[in-house]
Amino acid sequence: MTVAVSILPEQQLAVLNAAYRQAVARKRLRLLLGLVIFAAALFLAAIGAEVNLRTFFAHFGNFISYFDRILTLDSGQRVWTDAGEWLWGWRKWLKMLGETLLISYVGTLIGATFAFALNFFAAENTSPSPWLRFVVRRLLEFARTVPGIVFALIFVIAFGLGPMAGVLAIAIHSTGALGKLFSEIVENADMKPVEGIRSTGASWLSCMRFAVVPQVTAGYASYGLLRFEINVREASVMGFVGAGGIGQELVVAIRKFYYSDVSAILLTIIITVFIIDITTGWLRGRLFGKEART
């Protein structure tokens, strides 16, 4: 079977072809221009960041051999040949890991509570007044943009060394991050129940309690669990600035070149993060079905 394909007359084709080529050429030119600008920005950045490829290649062997060293015991054997020797401090490390998990748990819960209290004022559809919304939004933005570890540095000076500073730093950062996400959920909520409740003469507080909260709790819990996952990672480095958790042990091991300890602590952190990721993922799937998992 043959199919007839109609071919346009020569002159008409030439015009169309020319137009097509021109369009493609314009697109290519734009792409090229974009690439040139990007390359220039990269070049500037490379100068700014003191990138030195010579040191990089000279020392790249160090990077590989660093992993070789952290996987070697003092006796010169591979770490996995003698697990008892490798994980000699497991009691202490597990205790510190427990502390890390507690820091992130308490921090997330306090942060989520504050975010819950503030987010109705920050959402466009429920905020009682525009200026209040503006103030709350700026506050949340501030709490979110300043990195948690900067808060930790300041809190260590105000509250003293220890996990308390870490908890508060994580709580403030979580308030900012969750407050924004929570208020976005509220903005997507259906407003008809609110109207229904307001028409019965209810106060603002009852409107929130009986019309908005039932719609949004599932989303809140899902984001809260996600935040907990992120905070476990964050809490693992809080010890770098003296704010408690396993980070303290890790930074000492790295700075003092206790090589096999570094790999042992990293292993425990990675395994913990895995377990937390899997558990919270399972919990979210269990609680809210498949669509809430993203």
């Binding site: 960041a49 308490v106 943009t145 990195p147 300041i154 308390m164 890790l250």
Partner: protein, 282 residues
């Protein structure tokens, strides 16, 4: 008008027993969860040495610190700070670009529709997961051991930790791509590389570009802190000024960070709209 009809509740109860008498486990689940969460919270507060006296003492200390931060004042080190800020932005841009370049080929190997073999994909996925499990600050400490103190270590730290994140995100984007275009290329006699180049990449690149821009944004934040462990950028200045209690300079540096992050947010959201259109920005 007739009033509300009298409803025979007994008949309803008989017909829908689950609605009226939920099993005890379902009724108790939520309160039990709340009690458990609260119990862990209390245990945590005790275990982590929280005490009201310490809390309020710290709070008043914090109040003093905030008072001393006003007005923000860079002193005579404004040029140094501006240079440090430039360093931070450079670290974010370079680190993210490097990570994206290296992650693209690896993410192809981790995508189900490119490599169907579970045996090959599984180790790559776990490898990416373990890289992501380690925080950027830890990578910064490791790289400082290798290339010495300075911003270059920061670039490499961001590159490595983002490599893990990108590998995962990119491979998810590739798995979400429409398979029909790939089949079309295959049907017209294209090789496996042709399938990727003409079937997959045109669909995936805009998504990836959006993610890379978003990460440049979030890495500006990460790059501000890796200086705290000595890997260059404005975090180094910030940590130093906090340690010597120069609060006016601290507040100025924090303001600088806030302004820079806001500016980068603005630019990158404009760029994202330009590249992938309004709809695709998730």
């Amino acid at each position: 008008m007739t009033g509300p009809r009298q409803v025979d509740t007994r008949a309803l109860r008989a017909r829908y027993p689950d609605v009226f008498d939920r099993p005890a486990s379902a009724r108790l689940a939520v309160p039990a969860m709340i009690v458990a969460a609260f119990a862990i919270l209390v245990y945590g507060l005790v275990d982590l040495d929280f005490s009201p006296s310490r809390f309020f003492a710290g709070l008043s200390q914090l109040g003093w610190i905030s008072l001393m931060m006003i007005p923000p004042d860079p002193g005579s080190s404004l040029p140094v700070y501006l240079k440090a800020l430039g360093e931070t932005l450079s670290i974010a841009l370079l680190g993210t670009t490097l990570a994206a370049l290296f992650a693209l080929p690896v993410s192809l190997l981790a995508a189900r529709n490119v490599i169907p073999s579970q045996i090959l994909r599984f180790p790559i996925r776990r490898f990416l997961d373990s890289i992501r499990g380690v925080d950027t600050l830890i990578w910064a400490l490791v790289w400082i051991n290798v290339v010495g103190l300075g911003p270059f270590a920061g670039v490499l730290a961001i590159a490595v930790s983002d490599f893990g994140a990108f590998g995962k995100l990119f491979s998810e984007a590739i798995e979400g791509a429409d398979q029909k275009q790939v089949e079309g290329v295959r049907a017209s006699g294209g090789s496996a590389l042709h399938e990727i180049r003409f079937g997959l990449l045109p669909q995936v690149l805009p998504v990836i570009a959006g993610q890379v821009l978003y990460f440049i944004e979030s890495n500006t934040r990460s790059a501000t802190i890796i200086g705290i462990v000595g890997a260059g950028g404005i975090g180094l200045q910030l940590a130093e000024q906090i340690r010597v209690l120069e609060w006016q300079r601290v507040s100025f540096l924090i303001l600088m960070i806030l302004v820079a992050v806001a500016a980068i947010d603005f630019i990158s959201s404009k760029l994202r709209f330009a590249i992938i259109g309004r709809r695709a920005v998730a």
